[in-house]
């Protein structure tokens, strides 16, 4: 199986687990998408560091784009890449993040260390 195929499968499995196994329904919640929007930006930066500086390279047979060049950075954008990294990394990252956040909320809902809850930011006074 290619990275592309496994990535699509991983997203599907993560969404199914979130909805029907852990029943956290993160993908239906505003808090998840707000968090993901922040995380995905930093994912692109981090992936860019790994891939742009060629610490990690990819085989063109496994991804939509071509093989990482031997001695230079891959395309910043285009050829199936975004911020140097294969677009497949977005599938990989999404499934990793969704599963982690879903499980974190799952255990909270089950009563595992529900407290201390987060907030408020230090510049804001407590309401309770």
């Amino acid at each position: 199986m290619t990275y592309t195929a496994i990535g699509v499968m991983a997203v599907a499995i993560a969404v199914l687990l979130d909805l029907f196994a852990f029943k956290t329904r993160m993908v239906t919640r505003l808090i998840f998408w707000a968090s993901y929007a922040i995380i995905v930006f930093f994912q692109l930066v981090t992936n860019g560091l790994f891939t742009g500086t060629q610490i990690v390279k990819y085989d063109g047979a496994a991804i939509i784009g071509g093989t990482s060049p031997a001695d230079s950075a891959p395309a910043f954008i285009g050829d199936g890449r975004i911020a140097f990294a294969p677009v497949e990394d977005l599938l990989f990252g999404f499934s990793l993040i969704l599963l982690s956040l879903s499980l974190w909320v799952f255990w909270g809902r089950r009563g595992v260390e529900r407290t201390p809850t987060s907030g408020p930011p230090i510049w804001r006074k407590r309401h309770r």
Partner: protein, 117 residues
């Protein structure tokens, strides 16, 4: 990024530095819930390490061996990768709790069902 063997790990340090301040300034209180953190990160590790092992065995991705620690887990997985699967979920959970810290729990739009009281 060329910090020799520490190059890969230095990217992870960047991720930790970029997110750990949320614990202090936004009071995300993730480190104060270590058991829950372990239960969230632990079970996700295994499937992703299996995926990693398969991808490495098939050559889907490969590493500059001079810029990773050089310590390997079974199935040829660099130790750096294991650290990745701990650091990234940790940073993600910090982010979720930081957003919750800012948004509060008084509006039902932002609830996830684990709120107390």
């Amino acid at each position: 990024m060329d910090f020799g063997r520490w190059s890969y790990v230095s990217v992870l340090v960047f991720v930790i530095l970029g997110s750990i301040w949320l614990e202090v300034f936004l009071r995300s209180r993730v480190l104060r819930r270590p058991k829950r953190l372990l239960l969230a990160i632990g079970p996700v590790l295994l499937p992703f390490l299996i995926w990693d092992a398969y991808a490495i065995s098939q050559g889907h991705w490969y590493f500059d061996e001079s810029r990773i620690l050089g310590v390997y887990l079974p199935a040829n997985i660099p130790l750096d990768e294991l650290l990745f699967f701990i650091v990234i979920p940790f940073a993600s959970i910090l982010t979720l709790e930081a957003v919750r810290s800012v948004k509060g729990t008084r509006s039902s739009r932002w609830l996830v069902g684990d709120e107390s009281g």
